[in-house]
Symmetry: C2
Subunit: 171 residues, 2 copies
């Protein structure tokens, strides 16, 4: 089973893929889709979908994780981000990949123990967890962080089901 | 050449299709896509895309017209609407259909002469223009109004190009 993390943006969209096998996971892929600015807005969305689709085709047994966005007061940017995020959710759903959402704070807390961790701290932990040097833009690292967060939530739920209760010392 | 008007919504999406031949147009199709509420949000977007795609396949020589949304203060609804609108733009772009946008006020003004016209007034004018009784939800009528508005803008631009100036008495 693979976990595909997606960090959507109208300009840059990060993706990160990890593979879950039993109680462990390993790094598969990550990167950032950069949308050419000379395209019209509609063409940008089509470009994003075109670049995203191969991911789910390559990993057909996947679940998808996207950030549950905390909306600020900027209506315009929320509207714009909504378009790009809609395309990401659409592509996942079209490939039958169930979608999970986590707030940025939960992801940070899950990986570093601190909901207010910096991007560099998150990157450091992602590298520790995956035992791989992760380079490139933060959008790709954030997408990997989403995938790792979901792995732990998944494991936690499995443990809760086995034990019938929430374990005391679990992230 | 066909003009496909789209009135996107996260729950109801209207579409209206007219055919332009020379200086005239005629009614082809209209309707409302109602998204089943029992689906997850991502599945709803996939459902919307699935229902929309046949429109552009049926009318390959098309241009697409969507409402240029005036964003209120509600960030949540703008974000939600963005997802659905993104899917509409994506499907149009994937079919190579150029996308045009008009503000609701311009559409109303173009059809009724009054930018603050009511939905009923718009519906009445749409029926007059198309010489067809248009039934069903307003979302479908609004989509037809978008298509008609674009037809007139298109004609106006053609006249301006021919005359080299803006004609005095043109809507």
């Amino acid at each position: 089973m693979t976990i595909i993390g997606i960090d959507p943006g109208s300009r840059l969209t990060g993706f990160g893929v990890i593979e879950k096998s039993g109680y462990q996971f390993r790094y598969l892929d990550h990167g950032v889709i950069s949308i050419p600015l000379q395209l019209t807005f509609a063409e940008r969305l089509a470009y994003l979908a075109k670049m995203l689709r191969p991911l789910w085709s390559k990993y057909p047994q996947s679940v998808t994780v996207v950030e549950k966005v905390f909306l600020g007061k900027n209506v315009d940017s929320a509207f714009k981000l909504g378009h790009a995020r809609g395309v990401c959710l659409l592509v996942a759903a079209e490939h039958g990949s169930p979608v999970f959402e986590y707030a940025s704070r939960s992801v940070k807390k899950s990986l570093t123990g601190n909901g207010g961790a910096s991007k560099d701290q998150v990157q450091l932990m992602v590298q520790q967890f995956l035992q791989t040097k992760i380079q490139g833009l933060h959008d790709g690292t954030d997408a990997l962080a989403l995938a790792i967060c979901h792995f732990y939530e998944w494991e936690k739920q499995a443990i809760i089901q086995r034990l019938g209760r929430v374990p005391h010392s679990y992230p």
